[in-house]
């Protein structure tokens, strides 16, 4: 996978993640969705659930409650009301 997706996860308290990743799966209000590099412009509200970040064969999971996902050609931004890294 040559091309990478710029992903940032921010909550009101801080920026939890910002960087290049392979793929992000997020719980959209109308169904879970995955975002790869080059995804079309897309915006949705999020329901409570895990946001999974895939990078170099490793996955990191964040639990997110209430928020938005905004996909632009510049990348994916998740604005979450509450977000914590799952252990």
């Amino acid at each position: 996978m040559a091309e990478k997706l710029h992903f940032s996860l921010v909550s009101p308290e801080r920026e939890l993640f910002a960087g290049l990743v392979d793929q992000v799966d997020a719980p959209g209000a109308e169904g879970d969705f995955g975002v790869l590099a080059g995804h079309g412009p897309f915006m949705t509200t999020l329901k409570e659930g895990p946001v999974t970040v895939h990078n170099d064969g490793k996955t990191t999971v964040y639990n997110v409650r209430g928020g938005f996902a905004d996909v632009t050609p510049a990348g994916l931004t998740v604005l979450a009301e509450h977000a914590v890294e799952a252990v």
Binding site: E13, R14, E15, A29, E30, P41, F42, M43, P73, A74
Partner: protein, 288 residues
């Protein structure tokens, strides 16, 4: 001329004051770093939020647009939200916010507008009590939290949705650096779409929304108000400690100067008294 005993007491009391201001300064310095980080960490969220709203706002207009974005169409009734700290001893920090807010309130009232005041922080409440027409008062709390911001935001939205206010402006102090904080007024409702923030270049593709634009905006706008209030409180907190640190540093230095001049004065009068006593003894001995 004060007696030597009085002067000794005076010096002692200034020394005690200096110890307190010194301690406060160090506490403020320690807390400043933490609150500065908190303010900086909160910035990305607020910025992204503003960008997303700017993006959405360019798409919706006309009848269906949410009131929080376009306003009620009137600007007769204003709500001024003033955020300060709960505590003082920070130089002109709170006063400068209140002054900026008061100028705006007076100007609006002179224009015949109806102005209500909502305060966040004890200092704002105390200093604006005489302006009347208080819509409510909140305490800022020891640390800015989402919970408090949410409460304030709910109150603001309630006033707006029940048709009591048309325009809402938030006053707080923007933290520029440790030595510079400026009071600013930011319009919350109708949402101010940041000038100069151009919609993201979509390279020909069109945005897809889930559910739809209006629904997203309707959940996003109230959240944006909360975010702006929270970031105002965080900036205030950082500014407050910076301001307190500077004020207490000055106070410590002033106390030092005062101790030096009092000690000099004390030593002079002590010396003068010794000289006087010597003269008395010598002239007494000569008279024999």
């Amino acid at each position: 001329m004060a007696s030597l005993k009085e002067m000794r007491n005076r010096i002692g009391s200034v020394k005690a004051t200096q110890k307190i201001t010194k301690a406060l300064q160090m506490v403020a310095a320690a807390k400043l770093r933490r609150s500065q980080d908190a303010a900086q960490n909160a910035r990305p969220y607020a910025e992204r939020m503003a960008a997303v709203i700017a993006n959405l706002a360019s798409g919706v207009s006309g009848e269906g647009a949410p009131k929080l974005l376009v306003g009620t169409g009137s600007d007769k009734r204003h709500l001024i939200v003033v955020a300060t700290s709960d505590r003082g001893l920070a130089g002109g920090f709170n006063s400068s916010i209140v002054r900026a807010a008061r100028e705006r309130i007076n100007r609006l009232r002179n224009e015949g507008k109806d102005v209500q005041i909502l305060t966040v922080g004890r200092k704002a409440r105390d200093q604006l009590r005489r302006m009347g027409n208080a819509a409510g008062a909140f305490e800022a709390g020891a640390n800015p939290s989402l919970a408090v911001a949410e409460e304030v935001s709910l109150k603001v939205r309630e006033l707006f949705e029940t048709g009591q206010v048309d325009v809402v402006t938030l006053f707080f102090s923007r933290f520029k650096s440790v030595i510079s904080q400026t009071p600013v007024g930011v319009q919350l409702i109708p949402a101010e779409v940041r000038a100069g923030s151009t919609p993201v270049d979509l390279k020909g593709a069109s945005y897809e929304y889930e559910p739809d634009e209006e629904t997203i905006l309707e959940t996003l706008l109230p959240r944006n108000i909360t975010t702006q209030i929270l970031s105002a409180m965080l900036e205030n907190q950082a500014g407050f400690y910076a301001s307190q640190m500077t004020a207490m540093d000055n106070a410590t230095r002033n106390a030092g100067d005062m101790i030096a001049s009092l000690t000099l004065q004390y030593n002079r009068s002590r010396q003068a008294q010794i000289t006087k006593e010597l003269i008395e003894i010598i002239s007494g001995a000569e008279a024999l």
